[in-house]
Amino acid sequence: MSQAWVAVLAVGAGTVVLKSVGPVIVGGKPVPPRLFGILTMLAPALLAALVVTEGFAHGRSLVLDARLAGLAAGALAVALRAPIWAVVLAGAAATALVRLVS
């Protein structure tokens, strides 16, 4: 079995377990209402962190590269209330364009 297969199977199995932890083990039990204040803020905190890592992280360093153009184009599309697929397309196109000319 090639190395790639080992990685694919290990990542797949590990991710299945990570996703199922809550629903399988905690499943069905009510969440204390106070906890909801925190949980509601998880999405913005997580998604903002993902914007930073996907947009600026390169290994362990923060860099400004063509992805910045992608984020700017994406932000413009969001501001214009474009559908999500258009935002993603704008991000890809701007990133590719800057890479092409630089």
């Binding site: 790639a4 297969w5 080992v6 990685a7 694919v8 199977l9 990542v11 797949g12 590990g14 991710t15 299945v16 990570l18 996703k19 199922s20 809550g22 629903p23 399988v24 083990i25 905690v26 069905g28 039990k29 969440v31 204040g37 925190i38 949980l39 509601t40 803020m41 998880l42 999405a43 913005p44 905190a45 997580l46 998604l47 903002a48 962190a49 993902l50 914007v51 930073v52 996907e54 600026f56 992280a57 362990r60 923060l62 063509a66 992608g70 184009a73 994406g74 932000a75 599309a77 999500i84 697929w85 935002v87 993603v88 397309l89 991000g91 890809a92 701007a94 590719a96 890479r99 092409l100």
Partner: protein
């Protein structure tokens, strides 16, 4: 579920396009088409798959690739707990349904709020799974013909995708505070911690939701 599929519709073209890009990337990194499709079907988490394949393609070890991907997906353990209450039925059913919990389906179905709708989440997840896995198959079969997907801006597309999802969440001042906190934590930790840890640590910014009635 039908509502979920409808909610997911604007995202499906993006999922297909990103899936195609991932398939091409996998082939460019000497991963077979079958392995790429199996990865999309089982892992079903784009950024972690791109991370694992990038590590392998860059000559990294299998262990490094697996650890990087699983650290990136560690947030799903947290996300899963936030929606655990609404899952019903036996262990197998909950196990199967939990696989549809991803950033997009969770964020678009009110994840982490009292309005969370499991069936909408399942619909969004299923629609995106089909697009992502199918796209990967197309990309993996086309791979080699197309060339290096980073020149198409795959990485910029992921950044824009998360920005678009973030925008749907910024409905209150507290949400802005949590987002700013999460971004700051991720930025500060990126240079000093392995990939994945900054994202996991950013969940601490949600503590700004404490004190909310």
């Amino acid at each position: 579920m039908r509502k979920g599929v409808r909610v997911a519709t604007p995202l499906v073209p993006a999922a297909i396009a990103l899936g195609v890009s991932f398939g091409v990337l996998a082939r460019a990194s000497h991963v077979s088409a079958a392995a790429a499709v199996l990865m999309s079907a089982t892992t079903f988490a784009g950024s972690s798959q791109v991370a694992a394949i990038s590590v392998l393609g860059g000559g990294g070890t299998v262990a490094a690739a697996v650890v990087a991907a699983l650290l990136l997906n560690a947030r799903y353990a947290v996300i899963g707990v936030t929606v655990a209450e609404s899952f019903r039925g036996g262990v197998l059913r909950r196990l199967a349904e939990s696989q549809m919990v991803i950033d997009e389906s969770w964020a678009l179905s009110g994840g982490g709020t009292p309005r969370f709708d499991r069936r909408v989440m399942l619909g969004v997840g299923a629609a995106l799974w089909v697009g992502w896995t199918g796209g990967t198959a197309v990309g993996a079969l086309l791979g080699g013909v197309i060339g290096d997907p980073s020149s198409y801006g795959l990485d910029g597309a992921f950044a824009a995708l998360f920005l678009a999802l973030l925008a749907t969440q910024l409905k209150s001042r507290r949400a802005f505070v949590a987002a700013a906190g999460g971004a700051l934590i991720a930025a500060v930790l990126t240079p000093v911690a392995p990939p994945g840890i900054p994202i996991l640590a950013a969940t601490l910014a949600a503590l700004s939701g404490l004190g909310d009635a």
